[in-house]
């Protein structure tokens, strides 16, 4: 179980991460969703040990990883542009991590291994250690064993990503999607205790992306390896995550299951970023004991709010089309074809999806559910 607490980091004088904390539970896939430059990749690199945080801690089963170098953390990392080793074949790329676990001079010493590479609390530890031992045997018979074990594990990993039989190919000869699969197999093969994906599908086209996303979800599900998936693409995030963490200006602004996050973005930024509905600015007009009255361009709405607001305060409201709710009359400005629906832009900037395109210029009445998002 990975826990990070209060991680902070600056980049060229600007705060990049400001006290980020979260936990990844066993078998769980979480997704860090945020705009480009929000510090997602940096966070991954900090977890991997490739960069030190300025403040905060990275813990595995409550043991601080700060003194553990990246190569001893046993975390897999998949890069956006794959970072395959161009001088090695597909097989050798996938086998790389396995070989590193076998021959490393450091790991020949059990004491060091126990000390530096504490995985006793890993539920898979025993099985894993046995497997490593099989790989590490060095006598004549053992070498043969370790070789077949290595080949077996590479083959398994390649099969997992649907690349059986690609072992002898040069990685430079593969297509983008194939390269991404090799990168995935390479990260999977050593059976890391945590997998991290840094915009892994960013460079691929849409259909390939969807296909790979499905496969990836299936693999993560099957292997039960906890994973952190970093992306700026909410569709990817919703497709793969058990839990989504919205990262904005170095802070996690919303955390929850895809449905929770979608249904209740809880902030104007999150709602806008996700494109949940219409975010409208308003001014608190009247405060009563449990409800507020907020004045907007589209009328005055009365609602309950999680936050306390004073009169005259600027707030943001979320207007979601809903069967029950306040009706707003507006003129149709524009209707754009959007797959099986129409994206209709109304006067004042409200946008709704409709099954049939209304006549441009006509006035329609739409029911909205109005929610309070807090400060504008």
């Amino acid at each position: 179980m990975l826990t990070i607490t209060n991680i902070s980091k600056h980049y060229e004088g600007q705060p990049l991460l400001q006290g980020v904390s979260f936990t990844v539970h066993a078998g769980e896939t979480i997704c860090l969703l945020g705009a480009s430059g929000s510090g997602k990749s940096t966070l991954l690199r900090i977890i991997a040990g490739l960069e030190p945080p300025e403040a905060g801690r990275v813990l595995w089963d409550s043991a601080d990883l700060a003194p553990i170098p990246p190569h001893a953390r046993d975390f897999g990392l998949v890069f956006q542009d794959y970072a395959l080793f161009p001088h090695l074949t597909v097989f050798e790329n996938v086998a790389f991590g396995l070989r590193m676990r076998v021959h490393s001079p450091l790991r020949l010493f059990p004491s060091l291994r126990g000390g530096r590479f504490s995985r006793r609390s890993n539920p898979r530890a025993n099985e894993e250690i046995a497997s490593q031992k099989a790989l590490a045997m060095t006598d004549g018979q053992g070498e043969k064993n370790s070789k077949t074990e290595l080949a077996k594990r590479v083959a398994e990993a390649l099969e997992l990503v649907n690349l059986s039989g690609f072992g002898a190919r040069r990685v430079t000869d593969l297509s983008g999607g194939e390269q991404q699969r090799v990168a995935l197999a390479r990260a999977l093969a050593p059976r890391p205790r945590l997998l991290m994906f840094d915009e892994p599908l960013g460079a691929l086209d849409r259909s390939l992306k969807e296909e790979l996303l499905d496969e990836l979800r299936a693999i993560l599900h099957r292997t039960r390896i906890p994973a952190i998936y970093v992306t700026h693409d909410q569709e990817e995030a919703f497709a793969i995550a058990d839990r989504i963490l919205l990262l904005h200006e170095g802070v996690i602004v919303r955390e929850g299951s895809p449905a929770q996050v979608w249904n209740d973005p809880q902030s104007a930024w999150a709602a806008r970023f996700l494109g949940v509905g219409n975010v409208v600015d308003g001014k608190v007009f009247q405060v009563s004991s449990s409800t507020f009255q907020v004045k907007t361009d589209f009328g005055i709405f009365e609602m309950e709010c999680g936050h306390r607001h004073a009169e005259g305060e600027e707030v943001a409201l979320l207007l979601k089309p809903s069967a029950r709710g306040a009706r707003i009359k507006a003129r149709v400005d524009e209707a754009l074809f959007r797959r099986d629906q129409f994206k209709v832009r109304l006067g004042g900037g409200l946008v709704i999806l409709m099954d049939e395109a209304p006549e441009i210029g006509s006035e329609i009445s739409v029911a909205f559910r109005v929610e309070c998002l807090g400060h504008a």
Partner: protein, 593 residues
């Protein structure tokens, strides 16, 4: 001065080959084009035929003489060859020992004084060998600063017995070679390392490779091409090193180059010298071919953002950066700074001087350069050697530009003919200066014109040899520059109503002038510092500056040593100025030379 610079230029030429090839197809029938370029190439080809290939052929025929091919001679040759290979391999190894960490330092870390340090490590690359030899002599030699320090510590009044054994040892040779060639490793490997995608290393680390294995399993294999290329280049320079071995090595360290010199000039055994020359040529040819192949196949995965350098963070990194940059600074500055310091310091009496010796700061060694002492080792004032060198260098510049410019212009568009001829123009790079000198000795020692004129005793012979050495560089510098002149700009200017002369003035001249300046500076510094050919060819009454330095270095007395240092200082400063000029031209232009 050594032979450098060729690779990047050669790679550059091929970059836009297809486009230029297409251009040439459109503009003229290729047969006419070939004739056209042949006309411009003719002077260079004739020149090389007469002053490179003919002497080479004479060497070959002389070496095939039955009297040379004896087992005793082969034994000597094989001994010399073995030592040459041994010292070159050892030097290359040591160069890598310093060069690899330095390449890593420059590629991966940002630190204060980095640009200065980088420039500093590149300086020896172009320095004349006599200056390097003088530098190490002034630092570690029997009359160097270290000896003076040890003597004053032991209170023994400047005794050479206090000197650490340096001059005349293998250590001196190796150290000078490392001093010379580390910048090759830094430049080639460092560039590859800078451009190496850092995510590959990070991927390897997350896959469980510790930093040692990241190096052995990933970085080094990925850098195989640049490593091999720089290794071969360093080996080549160490293999054909002459001045360093002659001036810093002792009699027991005989390489092919110095043995050619000794056999020819001391033992007058020209056939044996020719045999050694042929062996030397074959070896350099083999290494050069290997090098071309390695460079052609080099593939390094690059990052779009080349700068992966950052300030050192951990204590270990800081210690590495500080320690290595301090070591590099010391290693590259001390020998160079020792020369001017020694040229201004009187630390021993002049020979035969019996009055009170004024130890300390003195400018006498400089003013004495202009004094003709009847009993000085030359019967001319040393300043005259500087004048000779200057004259030779200017003649070399004029001659190599006169030959090289038309050739570069002809080669700027690739035709079948120029493609075939190109290697012949570059071939002289492979022959050592000593071999060239030997070839001239055995080819031009007959009177050319009836009477008393022969080329070998003419003052022309030195600039001729220097032109053969400089010409390939001049062509390689001019060719890409001329090729880079954009045709479209020229057409555009013409269509706007500019006369051909105006077009040339506004479009061509700015590019051409910079290339000409760089090529001239290069030819100038090559000639100014050249030692090998001059030591075989220079007339006794017209010695060059490097020859004068070499001779003054071994003479007794403070005055001779001081004058050797003064001359070295002058030569070093002039060369540094040349390097600066070339760098400035290189930096200010879009085209890389």
């Amino acid at each position: 001065m050594r032979q450098r610079f060729s690779e990047s230029a050669s790679q550059r030429v091929s970059d836009s080959t297809p486009r230029r090839f297409a251009d040439s197809l459109i503009r003229l029938p290729s047969a006419v084009r070939s004739l056209h370029s042949a006309f411009f190439l003719l002077p260079s080809l004739l020149f090389l035929l007469l002053f490179f290939f003919l002497p080479l052929a004479r060497i070959l025929s002389l070496s095939l003489d039955a009297s040379v091919l004896t087992s005793a001679n082969f034994q000597t040759a094989s001994h010399v060859l073995r030592f040459t290979l041994y010292q070159a391999a050892l030097s290359t190894l040591l160069t890598f020992l310093l060069g690899l960490p330095s390449a890593f330092l420059f590629a991966r870390f940002d630190f204060r004084g980095k640009p200065l340090l980088r420039a500093l490590t590149a300086v020896p690359f172009m320095l004349p060998t006599v200056v390097v030899a003088a530098g190490f002599n002034a630092l570690l030699g029997p009359r160097g600063w270290l000896t003076l320090l040890l003597s004053s510590l032991r209170n023994t009044q400047h005794a050479t017995a206090d000197a650490l054994p340096f001059v005349g040892t293998l250590t001196a040779i190796l150290l000078a070679h490392v001093f010379y060639n580390t910048s090759i490793v830094i430049r080639i490997v460092g560039a590859a390392l800078t451009h190496l995608d850092p995510r590959l290393e990070q991927a390897a680390r997350t896959l469980g490779a510790d930093s040692f294995r990241v190096w052995t399993r990933l970085t080094l294999p990925l850098l195989r091409g640049p490593l091999l290329a720089s290794g071969l280049l360093v080996f080549l320079f160490d293999f054909s090193s002459f001045g360093v071995i002659l001036l810093l090595g002792g009699p027991q360290f005989s390489t092919l180059e110095t043995e050619i010199y000794i056999q020819a000039m001391r033992l007058l055994n020209l056939p044996m010298a020719a045999l050694l020359s042929i062996i030397q040529l074959l070896c350099t040819l083999a290494v050069s071919i290997l090098y071309e192949r390695v460079v052609a196949r080099t593939l390094v995965p690059t990052t779009p953002k080349p700068s992966t350098a950052r300030p050192p963070k951990s204590l270990r990194e800081r210690a590495f950066v500080f320690g290595l940059s301090f070591l590099l600074f010391t290693f590259f500055v001390l020998p160079l700074i020792s020369i001017p310091l020694r040229s201004l310091a009187r630390t021993e009496a002049d020979r035969g001087q019996r009055d009170e010796v004024q130890y300390g700061l003195t400018f006498d060694y400089y003013s004495e350069l202009f004094v003709n002492r009847r009993h000085s080792v030359f019967y001319v004032p040393p300043a005259e050697a500087a004048r000779n060198s200057l004259t030779y260098a200017i003649a070399t510049v004029l001659l190599s530009l006169a030959l090289g410019f038309p050739a570069a212009a002809a080669l700027k568009r690739q035709t079948v003919f120029s493609k075939f001829i190109d290697p012949f123009l570059i071939l002289p790079l492979g022959a050592s200066a000593v071999t060239l000198g030997l070839g001239y000795l055995i080819t031009f020692n007959q009177p050319l014109i009836i009477g008393h004129w022969s080329l070998i005793t003419s003052p022309l012979i030195v600039p001729l040899a220097h032109t053969v050495i400089a010409l390939p560089f001049v062509i390689r510098v001019l060719q890409p520059a001329l090729a880079s002149i954009p045709e479209r700009l020229r057409h555009a200017a013409a269509s706007l109503g500019a006369s051909p002369l105006r077009v040339w003035q506004t479009v061509d001249w700015p590019i051409v002038s910079r290339a000409l300046l760089a090529a001239s500076t290069f030819a100038f510094t090559v000639s100014l510092g050249e030692f090998g050919a001059a030591s075989l060819l220079a007339r006794p009454d017209l010695p060059t500056l490097p020859l004068a330095i070499a001779r003054f270095l071994s003479q007794p007395g403070g005055l001779n040593y001081g004058q050797a240092m003064a001359m070295s200082t002058i030569l070093m400063l002039v060369t540094l100025l040349g390097i600066l000029l070339i760098e400035k031209i290189r930096l200010s232009g879009s085209e890389e030379f």
